[in-house]
Each structure stands twice: as structure tokens, then as C-alpha cells.
Symmetry: C2
Subunit: 587 residues, 2 copies
């Protein structure tokens, strides 16, 4: 396999052999290592010296289940630290099957405001991939919903597409990188941390991959890999959360709305309450029921990418039975719903659709709207006003530029003190004061506030992988550390994080996961090695962040969560600073 480098300064490319040091790495492990190795930590995120690394996971491109993920790494315009955001898309296995272990976007054109696209395909005659750089100016300022069909028309149906939207063109710190889903919709996102703006700063609008040809992904020990794959697939098919017609396949991730609300941990109206009276109206169950009414039949969810067993992505339908958007994830639903005091799923779906159109991260967007509501720009619950504000972002008006900077930026613009962000990144749908373990993850993750960085919700809310009292502080630092380290490993395999539900509860599933990797790489990893391998990745990310100027002062929840008790439990965030510091200190 190769490392492919696209130099946007002069639109040239280079294929390098994979260095031995990178052989065992993939996904997040590879993207974070390369960013640490190659990006000056103090560079301007939108300047010529930042880079983007696209790395498929270790097993991505193989028949491993639920494993079509690509990690995107770079220095984040939002946090100022290292960023890895990953997405599930057929783009990921296509890149892997073209023989690319990592695609690096580097350099910067002298021309400002000019855009290109890179068309990467298999050159059968040369037996290697080739890249064409084509002008992309005609796609500038287009909605993704207009741009993607144009691209499919131009390149044919057998391509996968990654790209940045208008939010990225404006340089917003809230701008993601979009990937196509199985229905060619621009709905899969490496959303968090503003990596879209980094791509745009390189003058690169789209990376189009031809799906034809390519050497595929080499597997060192096919039998071992197959043995692991089967065990993992079995576990996924068995666990009630991940099984067909199980919780995720039926209600999607928004099944969490009622659970978090019940626990008093559903952040409501800019993190001023842990319960939302409108929760049932926006819950996953409501999505399922509304779709059933509107379609006249029960609709189970679909896969975001090939080879997925879980199939958790919903589509939300209009009253007339036409498609409104895909997909209304829990965190998006919460961000525009409970956190904005909005209980109308049609309006929430519209906001998701708009964010996908403009290339905005829904979590950051919803968190930003809630801060704007706190500032009095519009009122909590004003869903039409909220939709208008997202349109302001899409239009690049001055107000849109404030909101496009994210929640912390918006808080500064309006002098708002209650901003629920860590390292500049807004908190997702879990209240640190009501679910202490996830608060530790938010505070200490190398990524800024990020639930996917160490999802202690498993034991704290879902009784998966054990059971922990969400309100208790006991043992939560070790819990978060373990989840963060294991997640860094999981994000390297290319598997979806959701396989964790199954592998945490079903030991043979975890064994299968490690056997898959051992089959790929020739390693001899056991389940207990996952946290060790992941821990090394965290250390690298931490090293980058330290060199970028982040300190333990950045490993804190916002001050107001320490003096403002949260209803209904009326607790503050009471994890001592020393405990937070021990999360990475004892890694």
C-alpha cells in the first residue's frame, strides 16, 4: 500500500511506500501519528503548513463488519489542537482498495478563492493509482445537495466523494468534511473540529474516488482474520443494541433521548436543565412512529456504509411521504431539540438537512444556536428562528460568520458566560453534572468535548460493559481513561464505535475484533492490548496538543458547571482537578 500526497501548492502528487513505522497503524492511529510527525504544532490551522490526513482503518476494505470508516486528521481550527474526526462511508473502503493507506493533503495554492478537485482512480496500465487535478470553481458556493448530483453526473455512478461545503469556504471553525452515504447523499460527516475549513484552505473542494480496480487490502493471515470476523459478526447480530431490529436498527441513535432524559442528563436549553419536557416528542421512538404514520408501514434503519450489520441510520420523512433528511442522529436531534428547547421533529430534520447542505457539524451548530438563544439573538424554542440562523451561516452574513465560528466563538461575540465547551469545542448531548464519567471524557479528551472519545455512557446509562452510577464520581477517572484508550484503538481499526456495545458485553466478540486485526497485521494482540495500543495513540495526540500550547488548564469543564447546580439532581461538576489531571497523567 501507499501513502498518497496531494500537494495543493502546485497540484502535483506523489506515491510513497508505507514506512515500516506506520505498518501497524491505521485510521486514527495513523492520522494522529502523521500529524504529530509532520505538522508544526504552532502553525496556523488554515495556513500553508497544516495538513490533512485521510486514513482508512486497519480492516477497512475487507469483509469485516461495520468497518467502513475513514479517519481525518489535522490541526483543528476549532480547538487549536490535534483533531481526528471519522466517518462511515463507502469512500473509506474504496480508498483502501485503491491501495492507499493514507492520503495526505498538503501545501496551499497562491491563488486565493480558487478551488480544485482531485480525481483519484486506478491506472491499470501502470498498476497504481493516479490523480487528476481539475478546476472546481463551478461547485463553489453550491449546496452539497446540488454539488453531489453534479459530480455523480460528471464522473459516473461508480465514484465515492468527499468534500467541503460553503461553511468551509467561509473558513468556519464549524465546518466538516462530507462523504456520500449508500444512497449518494452527502450525509456522512467527519464533522467535528473544523477540518472542512482546512480542506478549503488548501483549495481542495472534492476528492473523488473511482471505485473500479485497485489491488484491494492485503490480509496476512486470511484464516485468522475470517475467524475473528465471524466471531465479531455473531456478537453484533446477538447483542440487543446492535442486532437486526434491535434498538439501533429500530429507533436509531435517538433511542437515547428518553434514556438520557430519564437520567436527568439530557442537556436542555443551553445546559440549564437535565430534563426536557418535550423529550418524548423528539425521541427515537417518535421518529419511528411518525415515519410509520407517514409511510403507512414500519421502517427499519439502513446502513451508512457497506458491510454494516448494525444499520442504525434513519431517514426522516415528510407528511406527504417524501424524504426529508437522513439521518437524524441522537446528537443532532438533541442539539437542535432539547438544547434549543425545540420539540418539533420536522423542524429538527430541516436543521439537519441544512447543516448537511452547507457542510456544518450538527452538534456544534446546535450548541451554537443554544448559546445564541442564551444571548437573546432568538428565543429558546423558536424553531423557525433557528432555521433562519442556520441559513445565515450558509449565506456567510456577519451573523452567520459569528455562528459559523461555533459555540465558544459565538459566546465571545455576545459576551455569554455560560458556554458549554471544552478546548473550544461544544459539548455533545450528555450533561457532565448528571453523568460524571462522560464529563471527565469531555474535559480531558485530546479532541475537546467529544462523546465518541470515551463513551462512558455505556456503563453509566446503558448498563453495557458493567454498570456505574452516573451521579457518582467514584472510579470515573479510570473509567474514562479506559474508554478513551480503547476508543483510540477502535478508531484505528476502522470499525464503527457501535461495535463496542457488543464487544464489551460479549467476550468472543472482543476476541474476534483482535483476531481480525492480528489476521491483517501479523500481530498477536489480545483484548487487554486494545487499551495499551490505544493509549500510545492518546500519548501522541497529547504530545501534539502540549506543543500546540494546551495544558491541564484546557482539561476542565467550563467554570459555570462548577458553581451552577443542574436540575433535577441539583449537582455541580464535582470531579476534583487532580482527578482530571490523573486521567492522562496515569496513562
Amino acid at each position: 500500500m501507499w501513502i498518497l500526497r496531494l500537494n495543493m501548492a502546485d497540484r502535483t502528487y506523489r506515491l510513497d511506500e508505507v514506512p515500516e513505522a506506520y505498518r501497524l497503524l491505521g485510521g486514527r492511529g495513523l492520522s494522529s501519528t502523521m500529524i504529530l510527525d509532520e505538522v508544526p504544532p504552532l502553525c496556523h490551522p488554515l495556513g500553508p503548513n497544516n495538513k490533512l490526513v485521510f486514513a482508512p482503518g486497519i480492516v477497512t476494505g475487507t469483509p469485516a463488519p461495520s468497518a467502513a470508516r475513514v479517519s481525518v486528521g489535522g490541526k483543528s481550527p476549532l480547538t487549536g489542537g490535534i483533531k481526528e474526526a471519522n466517518a462511515g462511508s463507502s469512500w473509506a473502503p474504496t480508498l483502501a482498495n485503491l491501495g492507499i493507506k493514507a492520503l495526505v493533503v498538503e501545501g496551499q495554492p497562491k491563488e486565493k478563492g480558487k478551488y480544485w478537485m482531485a480525481y483519484l482512480s486506478w491506472d491499470a496500465s501502470a498498476s497504481k493509482p493516479k490523480v487528476e487535478f481539475l478546476p472546481a470553481d463551478e461547485y463553489v458556493s453550491l449546496s452539497f445537495y446540488d454539488a453531489f448530483p453534479k459530480l455523480y453526473k460528471r464522473f459516473g455512478e461508480r465514484v465515492d466523494i468527499a468534500g467541503c461545503g460553503v461553511a468551509a469556504e467561509y473558513g468556519y471553525a464549524n465546518s466538516g468534511i462530507a462523504f456520500n452515504d449508500m444512497f449518494k447523499r452527502p450525509s456522512r460527516y467527519a464533522g467535528r473540529g473544523g477540518l472542512g475549513a482546512v480542506l478549503a484552505s488548501k483549495g481542495l473542494k472534492f476528492i473523488v474516488l473511482g471505485k473500479t480496480g485497485g489491488p484491494g487490502v492485503p490480509i496476512l493471515d486470511k484464516a485468522l482474520f475470517e475467524q475473528g470476523r465471524a466471531k465479531l459478526a455473531d456478537a453484533l447480530r446477538t447483542h440487543p443494541i446492535t442486532s437486526p431490529k434491535g434498538a439501533l436498527n429500530t429507533y436509531g441513535t435517538a433511542v437515547l433521548i428518553n434514556l438520557l432524559n430519564e437520567a436527568g442528563g439530557l442537556p436542555t436549553r443551553n445546559f440549564s436543565n437535565g430534563r426536557f419536557e418535550g423529550a418524548p416528542k423528539i425521541a427515537g421512538e417518535a421518529i419511528f412512529e411518525i415515519n410509520k404514520q407517514r409511510l403507512g408501514k414500519e421502517l427499519y434503519n439502513h446502513a451508512c456504509s457497506p458491510g454494516c450489520i448494525i444499520e442504525c441510520s434513519n431517514t426522516f420523512f415528510n407528511k406527504d411521504g417524501s424524504e426529508h433528511t437522513s439521518c437524524v442522529e441522537y446528537e443532532s436531534d438533541w442539539a437542535f431539540g432539547a438544547n434549543c428547547g425545540i420539540d418539533n421533529l420536522d423542524d429538527i430534520a430541516e436543521m439537519v438537512q441544512l447543516c448537511n447542505a452547507y457542510g456544518l457539524d450538527t452538534i456544534e451548530a446546535g450548541g451554537t444556536l443554544a448559546v445564541a438563544m442564551e444571548a437573546g439573538v432568538i428565543q429558546f424554542g423558536d424553531s423557525k428562528g433557528a432555521i433562519n440562523l442556520i441559513d445565515e451561516m450558509g449565506k456567510g452574513t456577519p451573523l452567520g460568520r459569528i455562528l459559523g465560528g461555533g459555540a465558544a466563538f459565538t459566546g465571545k461575540a455576545f459576551g455569554v458566560v455560560r458556554v458549554p465547551a471544552v478546548k473550544g469545542q461544544v459539548m455533545p448531548a450528555y450533561e457532565p453534572r448528571a453523568v460524571k464519567g462522560i464529563g471527565i471524557t469531555f474535559a480531558t479528551s485530546t479532541m475537546g468535548a467529544d462523546h465518541t472519545a470515551g463513551y462512558t455512557i455505556c456503563p453509566e446509562i446503558l448498563s453495557v460493559g458493567g454498570k456505574a452510577d452516573p451521579l457518582s464520581t467514584e472510579g470515573k477517572a479510570a473509567l474514562s481513561r479506559g474508554f478513551q484508550a480503547t476508543t483510540a484503538f477502535l478508531d484505528s481499526t476502522g470499525h464503527c464505535l457501535f461495535i463496542a456495545f457488543a464487544v464489551l458485553d460479549i467476550p468472543s466478540g472482543f476476541e474476534g475484533l483482535m483476531e481480525e486485526c492480528n489476521g491483517m497485521l501479523g500481530t498477536n494482540w489480545k483484548p487487554e492490548d486494545a487499551a495499551k495500543v490505544g493509549g500510545e495513540i492518546l500519548k501522541k495526540e497529547r504530545a501534539f496538543n502540549e506543543a500546540a500550547g494546551l495544558t491541564k488548564a484546557d482539561d476542565r469543564v467550563p467554570e459555570f458547571m462548577k458553581y451552577e447546580p443542574l436540575p433535577p439532581h441539583n449537582q455541580v461538576f464535582d470531579i476534583p482537578d487532580e482527578v482530571l489531571d490523573a486521567v492522562y497523567g496515569e496513562l
Copy 2:
């Protein structure tokens, strides 16, 4: 003397004896010490736990020359670190003469958007100061030029006024605290770092001081003090920069325009050149000549505050001979002039006047306009457009809120890479690539980019206190360290920084300075102790910043200055990181 605390949570106050630990401190030394002692470094700058400390200098309130300065300290909304900004105003000696060594504003009202003013006067019957809290809502959203006359009408002519303007009400990180000048104009500023917004966040619009009564400032050894005062006054009257009808008294601080332009160190069009073709048209000499034409006579400058020998403040007049604004300082002139590509002094004067009206720091405002010009919001040289942008800030429009956040904030909003800021604070009127020592000060100062924090311009440009080649890197770390430490001492005495010109060149002046202080405090400081005493203050400021999360990564000039050579010398900023780290490392 007392420490006076205004608790804005419930509008009560308290007079405390000065603790022994604070006895030798004044001005910056006292404000920085109290902020370190009392403010949680990770608090939100606009939240309930930040404080503002107003501390007159050690000799302020005495007959010491050019010594009517007050230091304002707090956690800065602009830099996230400690901030000391000082201003020269009769407000400072009045506070001292009321027996107040430090006035602390703390707490936060529950009521949002409600404002009070504190009227501090001498209670002769109780032989101590008293404070009345009065509603100030009628002054909200008023220009300072409307508010100050209303206040003088209400409280009579014998009061001094400090307050925050509309910029502060909006919570802008660019918002200063204004003080009256000798003509009751709201033109003297503790401008940098957003301390106005901190005052506004406390619900405190104005601090009005009655000038009648008060115990005065105690002097331990009057003869020694008088001996020192006389030596210092002599030096000031002798040195060509500070003497009557000398450089500052004639041309004001803007005498520097031609000097910096000649040196290739006058940042032009957002720090893209070190020379401005329009420099002669905006120079101090031009101000003098234009005033002479318009008034029909030569006009020398006036003092900003009582007891000043230097008298460097100009007033700029309209064509019809009416007053336009006071005062057009070098840094303001540069900020709206060369840095914006504007060579029209009438428009520059208008921008100064507007900033004074709204309560904006002119340096940050001009630096912000230049970044907005780089972003294409308006064109370089568009002075009418620039005036409009300042009005946007005054109106609190979304665009105004972006600009009000300062240059670094505006850069983020528009995705601009070339932002000449350190620690979030925009660089003032000296190019680090052409004047290396001041670049070291900008990079390493605890205050963010701040020329007053260590004015190596003295030897590098003015041949004051020795002579150093501005383009050379040799010995510049030690030079900056020495200037930073001595300045921290000077800022504690209450003297204007401009006495440095005289005391650096005239040894008896420096002796006089120390004798003054020794007479006040009973110390036995020699000239060589100034840097030692100041160094201890810097260490405290640094300690606050470290606890607030600032690291050596924050002690760097912006990346673009390291790869973009600056005309006309075509040099980059080539001070190695280790040298920067040694500035405070070897303190």
C-alpha cells in the same frame, strides 16, 4: 490608606486596612499581585469570579512629576491572561488622595443588563471615604461624549470620572476603561485587553470620585522624596524628548511616524510592509503643521493629567478651527493610518474620536480594521469605509460584534491567516521583523503584544539608553527582559512611561526616581533595583498566566512573520524559540 471593595452582587462596599504584604506595592505591582492573590485563573473573564483592581501608583497623588497614573488589573477577556492597563488622569491622584491604595470591583449582579454607578467621596464627619451606588441606566448606550457632560452636570465640576462605554456593554474583548482628561474629555484610556467589558459585566458603568477632602497620600521621608522629585523634574526638563517644546511637547508621540518609517519598521497595510508612502502626511510634524495652518498659530501640546512636565497630548483641529479630537497618539495614528493604508489625518482623527465615544482601544480597533481589509470586508485605504466599520462596532451589529472582538477574533471570523497578534492582542505600531527587540517584547510580555511592556524602541530607534541595531538579533532577549522588568517597576510608581527617556539618559534622573520611592516607602532602592523589583512583578503575572493555561507556545509571534519576509529589509522574524523562552526563563 485603605483597600476599598465594591461588591456589585449586592452593591455594598467595604474599607479594609492595607495588609502589610501590600505596603510597598502600588500601581501595576499592586494590581497584578491582588489579581494573582484573588482571581481564580480559570474563571470566565466576564463571570462573577473575575475582579478589577484600580491602583494608583506609589507616588501618585504627590507632587512627583508626570505621575498621575492608575493601573487597572483583571483577567483579560482578550488574552485570557492577566492584564494591567494604565492611564494618566486626574482620577488617579484623586483616588489616592481619598486614601485609597486600591479599589476592587468584585461580584456580579443577578440582574442582567442593569447598571449602577459608584460615587466615592470623602465623608468628613466619619473621616473616611464613603460610597453611594446609584442607578446608571440612563447612561446606557450613550456616547462617552454625551455621558461625561451629563455626569459633570449631575455631580458638579469637582469630580473625576472613570467608566465603560457601549463597547463594554456589548461585552467586546476590545473595550477599554475611559478616564477624564484635564478638559473633562473622556479621552484617557486604560485601553488594552478588554477591561471595559469586565467593568460592564459587574454592572458598574461609572466610578465617580469627589475631589474634595481626603487625607492625601502619606510620605515617610518628605525631604528625601523632595530631593528625588527635584532631580527627576530636572531630568525631564533637560532631555530633548521630554523637555518643554521638546519632541513630545511639539509633535506628540506621532513624532515616531517618520522615524519608524525611515527604519522600515512602520507596519503598513496589515503588516505587509515596513514603509508607508503616506507616512509624512500622517506624521506628528504634519499634525503640528495642519493645526498651525488651521489655528493661525503654533500650538504646543498639553498635559493629560496634573503635574506633568512632558505635556505630550495633542488636540487635532478641524478646518474651521473647531476641535476635532484629543489626542492623536502615535499608535492610534499608525493603527488607522499606515496599518490601514490611510493617509488622511482628518479621517484618522474622526476614528480616534469615535473610539473614544464608544470606549474602544484604538490600537486594537485599527489592527482589527486592517485584518478586515485583508479579508476584503473593505479595501485598504478606504477611510470612509473604515469610519463606517467603527460605527458598526458602536451600534453592536453582527459585523460590529465581530470587529469588537478584536483583530484575532476578526481573523477567525473571516478565515484570515495573517493576523499580527500575540496572546490574542494585536501588535502595536512596531514591526517585529524590522525591530527585533520589540518583537521579543511582543512575543513574551505577560500582556500580549504590547509596546509599553518593554519599550526597546528606546535604544533600537531613538538612541535612548544606548544604541542597538534594530535588525540585529544580538543581545535582544536580555534587552527586552531588562526593559520589561524595569517597566513593571515604573508602572508601579505611577509615573508615565515617558519619564524613561529622561532617566535612561540622565543618571541623576534615575536616582531621583528611586529617591522619590524611597521617600514614600522607607525603602533603600538604588537604580539597579528597579529591574529586580519589576522582575518580581513579572514573575507574579507569569504565574497567573501559567495557571490560566498560557505556555511558551503563547510566547511566539504569529507564524506568518517567520516565513514571510517584510519589505524593505526583506527579513523574517528570526529570533529562535529558545531565545524567546530565555526571556522569562532567566528572569
